[in-house]
């Protein structure tokens, strides 16, 4: 076992980022003002003149650590993904290596067009699948809203898929697991999110007359997104979104809620 002081900064960063050999760090840059760490990952042979710098260097004349300028792309255009945080620092993984499809599936890289590495994408997806609001996900994972929005856009369009089992199964996942949810309503008279009614509405199996513009547009969007999804977890997110809309706007949806309650009662008989 190596003594702690024998581990270089580059080794630390690779360990913290979960990036094993033969991948190696060709360059890194630490910005103490924006609290970001940028790692350039490659499989290219070691460059003998590559410089190593101390992480959080104490001999700074400015707050920004001056690090080697990243090398010119070796094999392709530079790609970048937001990776897991390194303690309180946000971490960005870069590469100029030409990646094939298998490489894009490595945890520290990501899919083309997505802002997050695969490992961070899974964490983000898990938060969303558990019903967390986007602002809470941003705060928890220290990611920007615009990046999260890009990710969710790709998710909603069915461009990416993730596997995740939520802690508490409801709706379609519950049905798949042969769990029979107990229909119920909350204090606002909205059928519970576990009621199979929601899935039957969103798939068009059950219909009701919607008069409220917001619900008409929301319903149309969620139906389209639902039909594009193969993943039960994403479908669950869509059901939660619909339920959240109805619960939130219950006092403006008197007519629609009356129909929903009747449908819920009829279906539970």
């Amino acid at each position: 076992m190596k003594a702690p002081h024998s581990i270089t900064t580059a080794d630390c960063l690779m360990l913290a980022g979960g990036i094993p050999s033969p991948w190696r760090l060709s360059q890194y840059r630490i910005d103490v003002i924006t609290k970001t760490a940028h790692l350039w990952i490659t499989r290219q042979p070691q460059n003998n003149v590559e410089k190593k710098r101390n992480w959080f260097s104490m001999h700074l004349t400015h707050n920004v650590t001056t690090m080697p300028t990243p090398q010119e792309p070796v094999s392709g255009p530079e790609l970048q993904w937001r990776h897991l945080n390194v303690m309180t620092f946000g971490c960005h993984v870069h590469t100029t290596d030409l990646l094939d499809e298998r490489h894009h599936d490595l945890p520290w890289f990501g899919q083309l067009g997505l802002p997050f590495s695969n490992r961070l994408s899974h964490q983000v997806f898990a938060c969303l699948a558990e019903g967390m609001e986007m602002s809470a996900v941003c705060a928890l994972l220290n990611i920007t809203f615009s990046d999260l929005w890009k990710f969710k856009y790709a998710l909603d369009k069915g461009l990416v898929k993730f596997e995740y089992k939520p802690a508490k199964k409801i709706g379609s996942a519950a049905a798949l697991a042969s769990v029979t949810p107990l229909p119920a309503t909350n204090s606002s008279g909205v059928p519970d999110v576990t009621d199979p009614l929601w899935e039957r509405l969103i798939t068009g199996e059950l219909t009701f007359q919607i008069k409220t513009l917001g619900l008409q547009l929301m319903f149309t969007k969620l139906r389209q997104q639902f039909s594009l999804q193969q993943s039960d977890e994403v479908k669950l997110m869509k059901l939660r979104e619909l339920h959240r809309y109805v619960e939130r706007n219950a006092r403006s949806l008197a007519d629609e809620l009356r129909q929903l309650r009747e449908l819920a009662q009829t279906e539970s008989v």
Binding site: S135, F145, S146, Q209, Q216, M218, R223, R244, Y245, N249
Partner: protein, 333 residues
């Protein structure tokens, strides 16, 4: 019940309201808007209005919508660019509504039109607004603009938004009046989102949209209409370019949405409009209508019931609308 009331007034009256601290949304000609004092207001350029005496084109008056009805809750003004636009609904008050004004033909207009349905919390909280424009005589000389009333600068590529919180016992409702109905003709779908299209699918068969519209002798004043769970959403036709085989629209078409060509009116716009608004539960506190309805239905000098408001280059009822009246009402519980 809605207590808001829109007013078509002189710039002097608007300036007095601003100086007295009123929170306002203002529509008017660029020179007039630029000269108004700084204050708690947002504005957009347009010289076309539905006033109390009927449709009017004027550079000398502004249409003012008072928004600060409840002294205990303070509206906030925000300016959004393309990069921050997706946060509009998230930053809206938990109970309240938001009014947005976007400058026509700008990047921020196109970004909003094409991506707003996907924004987080879209549809969750009431959002209305309009797209600013110009006098058609100014086409090629001026550009549509908006103004954050707290600043003196007219903005060409940013959206201004006012987020208005409401007391707990009041809620805001958004509704539209669209006189167009889907015709009984073919189903038209598109493979891509965009403000223009060459090829579409007519009943599933790839077809040139230009040729289709020409062969069916379609009146291009009649929009494409989509049925979104009962809400009829128009996409208006702008130009047919035979040489390029392209049709341009005033709003984007979306994939996975079935459109049909609108059927012609059975009557005149103002009469049908009167009948339609008579069915609305409340008089509107905020409303706007489309300049295409103003032009195509020749509404200058004609009244559309009691409804007044700017006649705009696009309406926002959550998402971008065409040839549609948008209204917002407040309801006390």
């Amino acid at each position: 019940m809605s207590a808001m009331q829109q007013l078509l007034v002189t710039p002097k009256i608007a300036a007095d309201l601003i100086r007295r601290g009123a929170t306002l949304s203002i529509a008017g000609d660029e020179d007039v808007l630029a000269a108004l004092p700084n204050g708690n207001w947002i504005g957009g350029t347009i010289p076309y209005f539905m006033g109390p005496e009927g449709g009017i084109t004027t550079r000398d008056k502004v249409l003012v919508t008072p928004l600060s009805l409840y002294p205990d809750v303070q509206p906030t003004i925000k300016v959004y660019d393309c990069a921050s636009l997706s946060q509009i609904c998230v930053q809206a008050p938990d109970n309240g509504y938001s009014v947005i004004i976007l400058p026509a033909f700008s990047e921020v207009h196109f970004e909003y039109a094409q991506h707003a349905p996907m924004y987080d919390d879209m549809f969750m909280r009431p959002l209305v607004g309009w797209v600013s424009g110009i006098h058609l005589d100014d086409m090629g000389h001026r550009t549509p603009k908006v103004r954050d009333g707290r600043q003196g600068v007219m903005l060409e590529n940013q959206a201004v938004v006012i987020h208005v919180p409401l007391p707990d016992n009041v809620s805001a409702n958004v509704a539209i009046v669209n006189l167009f109905r889907q015709g009984n003709g073919d189903e038209i779908t598109f493979l891509e989102c965009g403000f223009e299209a060459s090829t579409c699918l007519v009943n599933g068969t790839p077809t040139s949209l230009v040729k289709y519209l020409q062969s069916s002798r379609h009146d291009n004043r009649l929009p494409l209409v989509a049925d979104c769970s009962g809400a009829l959403i128009n996409v208006s036709l702008k130009t047919l370019d035979q040489a390029q085989d392209k049709v341009a629209f005033y709003g984007p078409v979306f994939p996975d949405v079935v459109y049909k060509l609108a059927q012609p009116f059975d009557g005149n716009y103002e009469t049908l409009f009167d009948q339609a608004i008579a069915r609305l539960p409340e008089p509107a506190g905020f409303s706007c209508n489309c300049v295409l309805n103003y032009l195509y239905s020749e509404l200058e000098g004609k009244r559309t019931g009691t409804v007044i408001g700017p006649m705009t280059f696009g309406e926002v009822a959550y998402v971008l609308m065409n040839q549609t009246m948008v209204q917002l009402t407040l309801e006390t519980h």
